[in-house]
């Protein structure tokens, strides 16, 4: 396969990924680069990683740069991932916010939403609990990877994907069979707004959010990047809004203007009073 990179080339690639996606890859992760980029080399008809690097060093950025960033990101996700956050959403967070907002639509943001299982899980939970509010609500889905966002918009999932974490009654209620695949019904798809966004770069034009899910993505960033992303998200949230992180993530030493709270079996964050 592709002969590995010399240390300078590897360092250059890490800097490139860090600059373009904020993802940190350290010296011990060279195998990750080799395995993830092997299919890209094949697609492009290149023999070595060095040849790929030559292309990556060219500016402006092209589809090749985008393809490399997409190959280096982990898109692993599933419906109802970790279960508890969605119990908490259903039992605690939604009832509180629906009451406070007098039944107005909610703005929910799923940052780093990958192929869409997380935002559609939120959509189903909201729709089941408060169908009227759901019809007025928007779920903003953002990711650095346009390919996963296109899949989200289509809402098409394989059998292996719907097998993972999706309760059978919800599969029957909210999906249509499309050949061998399953497609999310239009009533949920219209709640979704998908937009390419690199979280490491300041954004604009995002509505004030009532609920933010940013799960299983901060782990890839260094502490300064985490701080600046979380700080900007905080400023983009309603004062009484809620923030959900992934199971292995916390805001300890990252943002003291968020207060940790427990609801049900989940830890989540509110803006500090």
């Amino acid at each position: 396969m592709s002969p590995s990179l010399d240390p300078q080339e590897f360092a250059w690639l890490c800097t490139f990924l860090r600059n373009e996606s904020a993802i940190i890859i350290d010296e011990t992760k060279e195998y990750l680069v080799t395995t993830r980029l092997a299919p890209v080399l094949k697609e492009l008809g290149l023999k070595t990683l060095s040849e790929l690097l030559t292309q990556l060093k060219r500016r402006p950025l092209t589809a090749v740069h985008q393809r490399v960033i997409e190959a280096m990101t982990t898109n692993e996700t599933s419906f109802f991932r970790d279960l508890h956050p969605f119990d908490t959403l259903r039992n605690d967070i939604l009832p509180e916010l629906v009451k406070k907002r007098g039944g107005a639509g909610l703005n929910i943001w799923c940052a780093a939403s990958s192929t869409g299982q997380e935002p559609y899980t939120i959509a189903m939970v909201l729709r089941e609990a408060f169908p009227d509010v759901a019809a007025r609500s928007k779920i903003l889905c953002t990711d650095i990877n346009n390919t996963v966002l296109e899949r989200t918009k289509q809402g098409l999932y394989t059998q292996l994907e719907v097998n993972r974490g999706l309760p059978a009654p919800l599969l029957l209620k909210y999906f249509d069979r499309k050949g061998q695949e399953w497609q999310v019904k239009e009533e949920l798809r219209r709640m979704i707004d998908a937009r390419v966004m690199n979280l490491a770069i300041p954004w604009s034009g995002v509505a004030m959010m009532d609920i933010v899910f940013i799960r299983n993505v901060l782990i890839y960033f260094d502490i300064e990047t985490k701080r600046s992303i979380i700080g900007r998200i905080r400023k983009n949230m309603a004062l009484d809004g809620f923030l959900f992180l992934g199971g292995a993530e916390s805001l300890l030493n990252i943002d003291s203007d968020f207060a940790r709270t427990m609801a049900g079996k989940s830890t989540l964050y509110k803006r500090a009073a």
Binding site: S78, F80, L83, Q159, L160, V162, N163, R164, G165, P167, A168, P169, L171, L172, R177
Partner: protein
């Protein structure tokens, strides 16, 4: 936690059983619906969860599902169909007949674990 695996394929039975044992379940197996009912009657008690294949000789999983749901001594048993039948009308029929979950073959251990989690059975002890 106790699980009953009913499938006419010995190979599939042992794969599912191994996954369940790794999650901490004690597992019994049967090769068709009739065998499962006889075993349950002989041993008494009620497993926490039964995983039923659909297509089996002698008595299929859908018939077994109906038999189990008729008998109040198995009222607390959670039942999951685990099958290559992936048509919507099959799924609807199974849920209407009292199945709690439906897992389509083939599946990964993660998918099985997720489904047991949905049924509140993930912390096997």
């Amino acid at each position: 936690m106790r699980a009953l695996v009913v499938d006419d394929s010995r190979a599939i039975r042992s794969v599912i059983s191994r996954m369940l044992r790794e999650m901490g379940y004690s597992v019994t197996e049967a090769g068709n619906g009739r065998e499962a009912l006889d075993q349950l009657a002989a041993t008494g008690g009620c497993p926490d969860v039964a995983l039923l294949d659909w297509n089996m000789p002698v008595m299929d999983g859908f018939t077994l599902l109906g038999e189990l749901r008729k008998d109040p001594s198995y009222a607390s048993m959670r039942i999951m169909m685990v099958t290559t039948e992936t048509e919507i009308d099959r799924m609807q029929a199974a849920l209407a007949a009292g199945a709690d979950e439906y897992l389509m073959k083939p599946f990964t251990p993660d998918a099985l674990r997720d489904k047991l989690g949905i049924l509140g059975l993930s912390q096997a002890a």
